[in-house]
């Protein structure tokens, strides 16, 4: 799960991770009041107006402006609020800006990059840092991997002060900021661990002219599996950042991801669901979604899944691909039949069933009178559904 920058900084503040002073705003009026409040608090006219969307690359898209005067700030607020912000991560249609963050401006000496994530090879959370701050870190990693410093955290003892000293040395920091960095890192690594983060990125981390170390940005992802420990984080979810079908799927504990194509898929198991997308592409089509109904789905859950697929207007044909293990084929058949009874079936449906109670499942579908295209195997099914999608609705 992702949250906004201003929410991330609020969490940082609670852990003692230094961040600039700032106020979030949900309207132009609130933003202008926030500008006044930030200027009053800091005694400086310089503020930064920042669009709050989940996608990265906001600065490049014109979603971040440094304003030196009240008039500049007002112009920036009016320009950015409500704009359709396009960044490399939003896709060409962009994302409408509905929240702003007004932050104090700082006199910056140097920018760094700092990230934390789980290194699967070692099974340990790893700190990644670079003196090439503010840059696209993936470009740095590709062109100059030696410029990325990596330090693993031993979960038995947590981040150690000697690691902070080594990190500061390797980043080329002076003595003053080095001591600041140690405090910063102790707080930050504790935040990552206690909050069940799955990824944390500060780009840039800055040292100011007066030697302070602050997080100028805060990108936090949380491990969905750990959210049960953090109900306050779940509250921060911004539904406008999520696909409506994905929200509905979450209610039913279905794993659903919207994609660009026109063939709706319903599959059990993540691996089979991924390879169903692959086989559709192999057959010359494009999947409209990834949908894993899971191993222990009920008829109701299958019905909900089917309704989510059919609610996507882009879907021209549906492919149900099930290998019944614990999940029985008759459960799937009953769920599909119930869903079609409720919402109708306007597009062709191809069903491939295999595994537990396969004969019973096939019989239920045959007896239902639904116009279902049967298939010999997965590849045959993929070819048929692709042909049906290309032929338009029946």
């Amino acid at each position: 799960m992702k949250i906004h920058e201003y929410q991330g900084k609020e969490i940082f503040r609670k852990y003692g991770v230094a961040v600039p002073f700032g106020i979030p705003a949900l309207s132009v009026e609130e933003a202008l009041a926030a500008v006044d409040a930030v200027q009053k608090q800091t005694g400086s006219e310089v503020v930064v107006v920042k669009a709050q969307i989940h996608a990265g690359g906001r600065g490049k898209g014109g979603g971040v402006k440094v304003a030196k005067t009240r008039a500049d700030a007002e112009a920036a607020v009016k320009k950015i609020f409500g704009m359709q912000l396009v960044t490399p991560q939003t896709g060409p249609e962009g994302k409408k800006v509905q929240r702003l963050f007004i932050e104090q401006g700082l006199a910056i000496e140097k920018e760094y990059y700092l990230g934390m994530l789980l290194d699967r090879e070692t099974g340990r959370v790893t700190v990644m840092a670079s003196s090439e701050g503010g840059m696209d870190i993936e470009e740095v990693a590709a062109a100059h991997p030696e410029k990325i410093i990596r330090m693993a955290i031993d979960p038995a003892v947590g981040w150690q002060d000697h690691q902070s000293r080594t990190l500061a040395k390797r980043l080329g920091m002076a003595a003053g900021p080095s001591r600041e960095l140690a405090k910063f890192m102790t707080a930050l690594t504790r935040c990552y661990d206690e909050m069940d983060c799955s990824m944390l990125e500060i780009n840039p981390l800055v040292v100011t002219k007066d030697g302070k170390v602050l997080a100028l940005d805060a990108k936090i992802n949380f491990d969905d599996n750990g959210l049960y420990r953090h109900p306050e984080v779940v509250e921060l979810r911004d539904p406008s950042e999520e696909d409506p079908q994905e929200i509905e799927a979450k209610k039913w504990d279905l794993s659903y991801i919207a994609l660009e194509g026109d063939i709706g898929c319903m599959v059990n198991g993540a691996g089979l669901a991924m390879s169903t997308m692959d086989i559709i592409k192999y057959a010359g089509g494009q999947p409209a979604n990834f949908l894993d109904v899971g191993g222990g789905a009920t008829t109701e859950k299958v019905t909900a899944a089917f309704k989510i697929i059919t609610s996507d207007p882009a879907v021209k044909a549906i492919f149900v691909n099930i290998f019944g293990g614990i999940m029985k084929c008759d459960t799937i058949a009953n769920g599909v039949i119930a869903a079609v009874k409720e919402v109708g079936l306007k597009v062709p449906l191809v069903v491939r069933l295999e595994g537990t109670n396969v004969e019973l499942g096939k019989k239920l579908l045959a007896d239902s009178g639904l116009a279902i295209t049967a298939c010999a195997d997965m590849l045959d099914g993929a070819r048929k559904v692709v042909a049906l999608a290309k032929g338009g609705s029946k």
């Binding site: 991560q89 789980l118 699967r120 090879e121 099974g123 340990r124 959370v125 993936e138 990693a141 590709a142 031993d154 979960p155 038995a156 661990d193 069940d196 799955s198 491990d223 969905d224 599996n225 750990g226 049960y228 420990r229 794993s255 991801i257 994609l259 599959v267 059990n268 198991g269 993540a270 691996g271 089979l272 669901a273 991924m274 390879s275 169903t276 997308m277 692959d278 086989i279 559709i280 592409k281 192999y282 999947p287 990834f290 894993d292 191993g295 222990g296 290998f323 019944g324 293990g325 614990i326 295999e354 595994g355 537990t356 195997d377 997965m378 590849l379 045959d380 993929a382």
Partner: protein, 294 residues
Amino acid sequence: MSVLVGHHTRLVVQGMSGAAGAFHAKQMVEYGTKVVAGVTPGKGGSKVEGLEQVAMFDTVGEAVEKVGANTSVVYVPPPFAADAILEAAAAGIGLIIAITEGIPARDMVRVKRVLDSEHPEVILVGPNCPGVITPGQCKVGIMPGYIHKPGGIGVVSRSGTLTYEIVHQLTSMGLGQSTAIGIGGDPVKGTDFIDALAWFADDPGTEAIFMIGEIGGSSEEAAAQFIKDYIDKPVAAFIAGQTAPPGKRMGHAGAIISGGKGAAADKIAALQDAGIAVAPTPAEMAKTLAPLLK
């Protein structure tokens, strides 16, 4: 012959009084697995319906001491699963198979740390996996037993349903399996491809190996190198997620392409470079392996 589980397995089911634990314990007993104990804290001495012949204990330690359990399977819910795994290790269980899906990564980082330093001899399979089966001998996990057939193909997979697919395809072609191991889709796990490949390489009952990988991480690339360097037996593979978009988590926490790493194309290239046959679609997995058999 087989690896990990077989006639020697004496199984303790952790979380046997829960719905999933009880259901699968019954399935395992029916398959012929020696289920010697169930453990749920506070339920020692009680009976689970349909499993009256299986002794229930409060702790894994009792299951080891009193009925000689040597293998554990974990169905405990996510908030308590890490503790259950470490309890089994502390009690002297040598093989722990964790089925539970949804364990926080933070908990697994700690589990791995403790197992590596305190119990290096313990084998953990999973979590978030279908389990391990040696057809005709012993089933530990949630896989449908009836699709399997005793034979000489070793199967190792990151995906549950794709394991069932390959097993079903093999069985339909008359090719049985020595052991099928689901290693699970989580980013921090116990057994990885290399461990399973090494066991299969040493197992005289395994003639050939099928490996199913997915996007995310670099275990498949490491496995490709390992096969090239150490394995003489025929190996075929399949990689799921060839069309998955970057940055999206595809159901398995591990299945995500990030920072340009973990893409299916890289994994397929690494496997092919190592001389491993890669199935073009999941419908053709067994067909890809069959011609390699002597």
